[in-house]
């Protein structure tokens, strides 16, 4: 019955309000992820992205709708869905290596101590932290902590990886370095990834597809934008691709103008799925709608 590996249909989140209509954060949200796909979701604060991600993780729940992964309903947290939290969520009393081992031990309880250690070490080295394995999180910089967190999630080899705005708290330079690490580790493992971000360039660099959400309340996923750029992508080269600014303009235009205009409107098909858009092909539309390059900062949380 399911069309996608991860299949979300008509999801909605409503909060009951005493004495008035319940507050609808989002509704009619349908989307699908294929196996091995890297999908980012962008939207302004308050549109419910984090709720969607937390519900995918099994830490939160929807008011309506169905959510299935590999044909099975998602109910509660599972090791098949690994999470990288925005605030890293490392256990401060464990060293970097022990934090990765914590995940590995939960995932592969039958392994010997040596096996777990070797496996964890491999993933720490993949994110470039080979020399810092004995350090506690408090002795690591923010970027290094987030790498440990990424290593922990990848080391458990889940079927789906959920990244909740993982680079939101990092400075631009560190962010770039870790994006590269993420591309590297993703290319090596071919995980299915679902990621929240506020950064348009980051989303283009990493994604196969970007889901665009309208503003809340009553937010919806209005478009599914295909990022038709060749892989492997490199930060300094991808920006010179002819389609890059067409895609970027399309995304910025959505965030600046249409995310508000489309609020509460039905733009989806009868299943709730958003239209598939490929700005790289749509030359005329993009040319007609060149938007001045708004600073990306505008879309960040306060």
């Amino acid at each position: 019955m399911s069309r996608y590996f991860l299949d979300a249909r008509r999801l909605a989140k409503r909060f009951p309000q005493p004495g008035s209509e319940p507050l609808t954060v989002f509704e009619d949200v349908s989307f699908g992820l294929d196996q091995g796909e890297f999908v980012c979701i962008i939207g302004h604060s308050g549109c419910g992205k984090s709720t969607i991600l937390n519900a995918l993780a099994g830490l939160d729940s929807f008011s309506e709708g169905t959510l299935e992964m590999a044909g099975k309903e998602v109910a509660g947290p599972s090791l098949e869905r690994g999470v990288v939290f925005q605030n890293y969520s490392l256990l401060p009393w464990l060293s970097a290596l022990e934090n990765v081992e914590f995940g590995v031990r939960a995932r592969f309880p039958q392994w010997s101590k040596e096996q777990r250690r070797a496996h964890s070490r491999k993933y720490l080295e993949m994110v470039g932290l080979g020399g810092s394995e004995a350090r506690k999180p408090a002795q690591l910089s923010g970027g290094m902590r987030q790498r440990v967190s990424i290593a922990r999630a990848f080391a458990t080899q889940p079927q789906l990886l959920l990244l909740d705005e993982p680079f939101g708290a990092l400075d631009a330079l560190t962010r770039g370095v870790i994006q590269d690490e993420l591309i590297k580790i993703w290319s090596a493992t071919k995980q299915t990834v679902f990621m929240i971000t506020h950064d348009v360039d980051e989303a283009i660099l990493l994604s196969d597809r970007i889901l665009l959400m309208t503003n809340g309340p009553q937010a919806r996923i209005a478009e599914s934008v295909r990022i038709d750029l060749p892989r492997p992508r490199q930060r300094d080269q991808v920006i010179h691709h002819p389609a890059y600014y067409r895609i970027r303009n399309h995304l910025v235009d959505f965030l600046v103008n249409r995310s508000l205009e489309l609020r509460g409107r039905t733009v989806t098909d009868e299943q709730g799925f958003p239209p598939d858009i490929n700005p790289a092909l749509d030359e005329s539309a993009a040319a007609a709608r060149v938007v001045p390059l708004t600073p990306v900062k505008e879309f960040h949380h306060g």
Partner: protein
Amino acid sequence: MKASISLRAAILSALLLVLLLAIWEVLCRVPASAAVSADDEYALLMGEAEQEARVPPPSVVLAHAYAELSQPFYDNGPNDKGIGIQLAHSLYRVLTGYLLAALVAIPVGFVIGMSPLMYRALNPFIQILRPISPLAWMPLALFVIKDSQTSAIFVIFICSVWPMLLNTAFGVAGVRRDWINVARTHELSPLRTAFSVILPAAMPTILTGMRISVGIAWLVIVAAEMLVGGTGIGYYVWNEWNNLNLASVIFSILMIGVVGMLLDLLLGSVARLVSYQE
């Protein structure tokens, strides 16, 4: 030229100590020069010697301390035991009562911290039982238990249970949601979550409670032993008072302070082992 602050503090402490001892010594010696009798013993017999008992000067106390500490474990019968034996009795009671309290308080505190329902259900009991002076339990304990030694241990138990219970509950309830979520996304069983996430996260707070408890237990044991008698440092202080041996009283007061400090240092170093930086 500039010595470290700890060295300077140590010098200052030593100076203060010498100064205080000197003042004490001088104050105690002033009247001694007033009346010099040719025959002290005769004067004493005739009641002409000083009527007033005096606080012994530090030199006497130190001499007494030296004598006691060079032979801490002698045993010349029920009322004449070395300071080491007395302290050992007190420590035995304190540690037994304290460890029993930890065995009860930490698991119960864990449950209270995890469950808002249990917290609300047990809170009235805790609030009523906690302010009761531990010595108030003594008559009831003696009647029910019918053994003074065990009653003293019970009093220690009841006074050390509360800080550990409340701190454990507080520490467990305050474990960051993120860490619990890490445990949940890794599908840890409730028991594994308790031992591998909540316990290490709450450990510094629990240790704070344990440290407060051992301090209180050591305060209470002196009073408890004055009541139950027989052995222990509290009994020793009271017995020496009855003997009017003030040098011994002062010496044992100091020993109570020293042992209390050592207990606190011990738990302090355990606390450092389990502490973490966020």
